[in-house]
């Protein structure tokens, strides 16, 4: 009887007494040490490239002066951990203000953005009056952008320059998030909605009592997208804000870490810890909220919430 290569290989390995992973599909070749080694190297390398910089930043932020001088400005593993850098950063109002501005923008912005996106997505997900033209109005934004300068002039005309609202309002709707939300709503069985309507529920009630409870996953994901975009934004602050007290964390990060401005001067401390530590402490502060929130929300990514939308 003719045997396939794969059957012969299997037999050979079984003869050698190698064990099999039960979750491995039967038709797959037995695991090859060679390919597994290559995969392990690639996966390990990628993991290292992501973990190492983050570790480096955290260690540098808590490294002491001696270690930094010896190593030349960084620390891979803190020998004498100290929180002097954090103490210095939080000694003045400066960083508290920046954090407050960022937190306010993120919280209010995400709330408003979810409100606008959910109502708009639900209203256009049903065959209602003006649904089609409004949908086209939204989708056109995917094709064309008004441009930086007209946006700046508009924000100026609305009198939003130098207010936190200039950092919030222009970001409260994104067509991509709308598309994700809407395609999720369109997959909700229409019978549920019809049944509620027959029972006398209004459209507001259907949205609140039926659609929203079914859409927790997509709201979590879209909410994360909005929150991250508000937390990460630095350019609109650079464009619209002159007042230092309204700087969000990312702009502080840009001015004092990427551009290398003097942090100690801005805060007004005299006996400052090493500038590298202070810079990296700001990096950690900007990084931390994302690292905290991310694990709770990333589990939704693989449930097809996003890909469902992309694939139509």
């Amino acid at each position: 009887m003719a045997t396939t290569i794969h059957e012969r290989r299997t037999a050979k390995r079984q003869a050698k007494g190698l064990t099999f992973n039960p979750s491995r599909p039967v038709w797959k070749e037995p695991a090859s040490p060679f390919y597994n080694a290559i995969k392990a190297v690639i996966i390990g390398g990628i993991t290292l490239s992501i973990v190492l910089p983050i570790l480096l930043v955290v260690s540098t932020s808590i490294a002491d002066d001696e270690q930094l001088t010896a190593a030349g400005g960084f620390g891979l593993w803190p020998t004498h951990p100290t929180h002097a850098a954090y103490q210095a950063i939080f000694s003045g109002e400066f960083m508290f203000r920046a954090l407050g501005v960022s937190a306010f923008i993120t919280a209010v912005g995400t709330f408003l953005a979810l409100f606008i996106t959910i109502t708009m997505a639900y209203a256009t997900s049903r065959p209602v009056m003006f649904g089609r033209p409004v949908l086209l109005l939204v989708l056109f934004t995917l094709l064309f952008a008004p441009g930086l300068i007209p946006m700046f002039l508009m924000v100026k005309e609305l009198g939003l320059l130098n207010t936190v609202w200039s950092l919030i309002l222009p970001g409260t709707f994104a067509a991509f998030n709308f598309v994700v939300m809407r395609s999720f709503f369109m997959n909700i069985p229409v019978e549920l909605i019809e049944a509620a309507r027959i029972d006398g529920a209004s459209d507001f009630m259907i949205l609140r009592k039926i659609v929203l409870p079914l859409s927790k996953a997509v709201i979590a994901v879209v909410g994360l997208f909005y929150a991250v975009s508000f937390w990460n934004a630095f350019f609109n602050a650079m464009l619209y804000i002159n007042d230092q007290t309204l700087y969000p964390v990312q702009l502080v990060l840009r001015n004092y870490v990427v551009q290398g401005g003097s942090m100690a001067e801005a805060i007004g401390v005299t006996s400052a810890p090493p500038p590298q530590s202070m810079q990296m402490a700001i990096v950690v502060i900007a990084l931390l909220p994302i690292l905290i929130v991310y694990p709770f929300l990333q589990k939704h990514f693989n449930k097809g919430v996003i890909t469902g939308a992309i694939k139509g």
Binding site: H6, V283, I290
Partner: protein, 352 residues
């Protein structure tokens, strides 16, 4: 099926249908008017509702559209009209109403501005680098992840590679400085070992490579998500059948996996080509000073520096408008090409 059986089936169907009244007969008196309108086969009115009735019926839905429509009006459609300053000699103290109209003079100036051509060249060069170096990475990553048997490994690896997508560009550049910068990990190690340090972060000649590596680090993992979804959609029995016929892992990849991904690869490739004028903005703005405008100036940063920083509002708006219009045409053309290839394209998908 015999004749009698068929008849009994028909009878059964009739019996099932019986409780449902034929269209327009057994309606409540108040609905009498509606029953005269066109109905579908279930007796449900189709587009039979008058304009006023629909307005009343959809009142709440229309209310729900209002916040979004206000947003679009304020932060999208009105600013689009603001692009008229590209045809003006806009002066902030005069405003749009009182500034002089200069026709296409700003576009002519742009044409003779060498900095604009540098920005355009850099944009296209970076886009080509991204296409060649960035585009295949998520595909390769997806193939590796898909081949992992252990769901545990899969899950933590996916979570880890998605993470950089959620970090801001400021953070990414700060992290890169800490590793590759003049005082960073790599250069310190090089110096300790007696080598010269390498100016990774400030060399304009190697900047396209650096920028692409940064982009790969940040977004390649996230871009994998769409390939993974397509991989999951491939019918597993195809692999089984191929394996039974003696196809090895590489043959299965060539004859099943890649054809299964063909449509998504073609779609993404065409869209990327259509989007060639957008290579990113914050990444280049942040490194504009360190590398110099010769390498890091792209169309978007040109708009910013010429318009907002330099005060040439109209010139900047002209550059932005030119980029926007050409970009929209390219995306439109790319979508048409996608249709030609028999792929659904992006608009049809999103509208439908």
């Amino acid at each position: 099926m015999s004749q009698t059986q068929q008849e009994s089936v028909k009878q059964l169907e009739a019996a099932v249908e019986l409780p449902i009244p034929p269209a327009g007969t057994n309606r409540a008196p108040s609905r009498k008017k509606r029953s005269k309108k066109p109905v579908d086969h279930d007796g449900v009115p189709v587009r039979a509702v008058s304009w006023k009735l629909r307005l009343r019926r959809d009142k709440q839905m229309l209310l729900m559209m209002i916040p979004g429509v206000i947003f679009l009006a304020l932060f999208f459609y009105t600013p689009i009209l603001g692009n008229v300053i590209a045809f003006q000699d806009y002066q902030p103290f005069l405003g749009i109403g009182n500034s002089d109209w200069v026709g296409v003079q700003n576009f002519i100036d742009l044409y003779f501005n060498p900095d604009f051509w540098v920005a355009l060249r850099n944009t296209v060069v970076l886009a080509v680098w991204q296409l060649v170096l960035f585009f295949p990475v998520p595909l390769g990553l997806a193939l590796i992840v898909d081949s992992l048997i252990s769901t545990k490994t899969r899950r933590w690896f996916q979570s880890l590679v998605y993470l950089p997508h959620f970090l801001s560009w400021v953070l990414v550049i700060a992290l890169f400085q800490q590793v590759l910068g003049g005082a960073g990990l790599v250069n310190n190690t090089l110096r300790d070992m007696g080598f010269d340090s390498i100016p990774f972060m400030t060399n304009p000649d190697t900047f396209p490579l650096l920028a692409t590596v940064q982009l790969v680090w940040k977004d390649a993992g996230w871009a994998m998500i769409i390939f993974l979804a397509s991989l999951a959609a491939i019918d597993g029995s195809l692999y089984e059948a191929a394996a039974a016929d003696g196809a090895g892992r590489w043959r299965r990849m060539w004859h099943i996996t890649l054809p299964g991904l063909r449509s998504i690869i073609v779609l993404l490739l065409i869209l990327r080509i259509g989007d060639i004028l957008s290579v990113g903005f914050e990444q280049f703005l942040l490194q504009h000073d360190a590398v110099g405008p010769g390498a890091a100036e792209v169309l978007d940063t040109f708009t910013y520096f010429a318009g907002v920083v330099g005060g040439g509002w109209s010139m900047g708006a002209a550059a932005g408008l030119a980029k926007g219009v050409v970009g929209a045409l390219l995306i439109f053309a790319a979508n048409k090409v996608a249709h030609k290839f028999g792929e659904p394209g992006i608009f049809q998908k999103k509208v439908g």
